[in-house]
């Protein structure tokens, strides 16, 4: 019971972290699962299950309100059930993955429910804004967190409660060993799904050759992933500095010459409050109709109160910022917030609103790409690859690489956009954003080339008998097919599996859920038959 409550509290924090502060990206399965493992007293299980689900979900993020499988709950519930299962840790982990994956997919059905409740709430917020009632507005904003949390915390609690009974042990004790063997293989194939989804988001036809750098680095030179990442950084810098194919656009004169002639009316305290509100709660009231609008209005409220002593102006300000808004909250959102504050202070509310609308789309495009497809994918793949070896450095590394850089980048965006005010447009026009996106793409390809052979693990255990004549005597020996494949190309099977999954998702256009199903079934069957395994059996 105590464990179930602790897991529920953890699920609540994970959900909040992914809507507000993004301190450690706790809704990612690697983090959610690892801490769940600590709570249930089986840290290794949490690492293995969290890392496997993480790799299956690479690049799967919710952009623009699309519903994705609930991997957070899948990782927590899978870990809780695995801890109660019978057998050795490897068998328990296989069961945890077998439960966590379908749970994640099924529970995605609840996600729209939470978002629909918040949609109803935002209309109440409209009423409070019309009255100039800031407390009411704030109340609705924070209450909106409840439905978001409930649809994740309640299933977590129920599953954790069920896991604490002896029933799980009884059921799992009767699971055949062959199934566990198959599920283990399926788990080691699942990262191929994540890599394929990621490749589907990237310009493969333009940059495919960069995959070779990472592949050679790992398969032939045996470099660790960090070493490959460093090569990737160097190659990315080369691309960005040497290959400026984006034409530098002319900066509009009005934007370039606009000088900041505003006498500052906002105090440092006001700015801090705006930033703090956005940092801790930007998306907690996300809903289908206005998306992040209420979070933005709530963040702007201290500035509006300072700038507009007349109630009618203050109300108009709240309503202005309650209009539809959505962008990438880590890269983009703080920049837009800073620019809105500056333009409101400059006495140009119309331009604050129109700049906001102009920036939110492009910044979402750039921000989502850099954050989801590139930076997070690299950091979390490295973390997951260490976690799969049972190393705690994995989730710790991912958490720190999220905590520090994103905090700095967000603070900088807000300050920069506020200071530059009207000149911001000129800076953005210079093409720096496109170069950042290109550099990150190049890095992503190099690193992926090394990740695929190092993380997708599959070998064949098939052998054939071959009769040769040795010194006039016919000798029959068994030959391992894997050894012959290795002579042809190291890591041929992982490459083929990833390519196959890529074709299924991108060319045959199967939905990711179906692809995951196919990979799991294929893994279980081939592993059960004993034809393939995650790694070669120890030589006896």
């Amino acid at each position: 019971m105590l464990v179930a409550l602790a897991l529920t509290l953890w699920a609540i924090y994970c959900t909040y972290d992914g809507l507000g502060p993004f301190l450690i990206y706790a809704q990612r399965p690697l983090i959610a699962g690892s801490v769940a493992g600590l709570i249930v007293g089986h840290p290794l299980l949490g690492l293995l299950i969290g890392a496997t689900l993480e790799l299956a979900a690479l690049g799967v993020y919710t952009y623009g309100g699309a519903t994705i499988p609930d991997y957070q709950t899948g990782a927590i519930v899978g870990t809780a059930l695995a801890a109660g299962a019978a057998g050795a840790p490897a068998a328990q982990a296989a069961i945890g993955i077998g439960v966590g994956l379908p749970a994640a997919i099924l529970l995605s059905a609840l996600d729209p429910v939470g978002k629909m409740v918040t949609t109803a709430l935002v209309h109440r917020a409209d009423g409070y804004a019309a009255d100039g009632n800031a407390r009411g507005l704030a109340m609705i904003h924070w209450v909106s967190l409840v439905p978001w949390v409930a649809v994740r915390a309640v299933p977590t609690f129920l599953a954790a409660l069920a896991a604490s009974g002896g029933l799980v042990k009884d059921i799992t004790a009767s699971i055949p060993a062959g199934f566990v063997q198959g599920m283990t293989l399926a788990g080691s194939l699942l990262p191929a799904v994540g890599f394929a989804l990621l490749l589907g988001m990237m310009e493969l036809s333009r940059y495919w050759y960069l995959l070779l750098i990472g592949f050679v680095g790992f398969a032939y030179l045996h470099l660790p992933v960090l070493g490959i990442a460093l090569i990737g950084v160097a190659v990315a810098m080369l691309f960005v500095t040497l290959k400026r194919d984006e034409p530098v656009l002319a900066v509009p004169e009005a934007a370039a010459e606009a000088e900041s002639t505003v006498d500052p009316r906002l105090t440092k305290q006001d700015l801090r409050r705006v930033y703090r509100r956005y940092f801790w709660s930007s998306q907690i009231s996300w809903n289908y109709e206005r998306m992040q609008a209420l979070g933005f209005a709530y963040s702007m409220e201290p500035v509006l109160r300072r700038l507009y002593p007349e109630k009618a102006d203050y109300v108009a300000g709240l309503q202005r910022h309650l209009q539809f808004f959505n962008t990438s909250v880590l890269v983009g959102g703080p920049l837009i917030l800073g620019s809105s504050v500056a333009l409101e202070e400059a006495g140009t509310p119309k331009s604050a609103a129109s700049t906001k609308v102009a920036l939110m789309g492009p910044m979402a495009g750039i921000g989502d790409t850099v954050v989801f497809a590139l930076y997070n994918s690299i950091v979390f793949t490295m973390g997951a690859s260490w976690a799969l070896q049972g190393n705690w450095l994995g989730p710790a590394f991912a958490a720190v690489m999220v905590l520090v850089p994103y905090a700095l980048v967000r603070r900088w965006q807000f300050g920069f956009a506020y200071r530059e005010g009207k000149r911001l447009a000129g800076h953005l026009a210079a093409g720096a954003l496109a170069r950042v996106a290109q550099g990150a793409t190049v890095l992503g390809f190099v690193v992926l080339g090394g990740f695929i052979p190092s993380i997708v693990k599959v070998v064949t255990t098939l052998t054939y008998r071959q009769t040769t004549t040795v010194q006039g005597q016919p000798v029959t020996q068994s030959v391992a097919i894997q050894n012959q494949l290795d002579e042809l190309l190291p890591f041929l099977l992982p490459v083929l599996v990833t390519a196959g999954v890529y074709l299924l998702t991108v060319k045959a256009r199967l939905r990711p859920v179906w692809v995951i199903g196919i990979v799991v079934v294929a893994g279980v069957v081939l592993g059960w038959l004993g034809w393939f395994a995650p790694s070669a059996p120890a030589k006896s």
Partner: protein, 158 residues
């Protein structure tokens, strides 16, 4: 000009477009179509940067119609009326996808799907579009099933 895929999306080029649609459709060019956006320097400069290397034009409705035919282009219109004007002007898209249409202040609206708000006037115009033989669907992401749009209007009593 003829466009393969016309999408109505208030946020123009964002994550759903750059991470999902452009690769899935295999388009080689993006056209952002809206008079106000085309007249705004900031957006004209920012949108191509968000397109991740795809050549991107930001054009008014008139300029979109005047541009040469490109079957491999995806047209992203900001508002429904941009599409209505494109079709009036002679554009015959293979499909019109009503993606993201956020409510705008002013006229009363109905949420037809989670991401699409429709006013009474717009509902009439959508019906005219469908009656003229333009396939009209709503599909947020490529992995979602495309849904016929007019029956959705019927269901909401628009």
């Amino acid at each position: 000009m003829a466009g393969a895929h016309v999408r109505i999306d208030n946020r123009l080029i964002h994550g759903q477009v750059t991470l999902a649609w452009t690769r899935r459709l295999g388009v080689r060019r993006l056209v952002v179509c809206n008079d106000d956006v085309a007249a705004d320097d900031l957006q004209r400069m920012l949108l191509p940067q968000a397109a991740r290397g795809l050549p991107t034009d930001v054009l008014s409705v008139e300029a979109t119609l005047a541009a040469e035919a490109a079957a491999d282009a995806m047209i992203i219109a900001k508002h429904p009326e941009d599409v209505f004007r494109l079709v009036e002007g002679g554009l015959r898209p293979e499909v019109v996808n009503v993606g993201n249409v956020a409510p705008r202040p002013g006229d009363p609206y109905t949420m037809v799907t989670r991401s699409v708000a429709v006013t009474a006037d717009e509902a009439d115009a959508y019906r005219k579009l469908a009656a003229a033989g333009v396939p009209l669907v709503t599909q947020l992401l490529p992995q979602d099933k495309p849904a016929e749009f007019v029956p959705l209007l019927d269901r909401k009593g628009l």
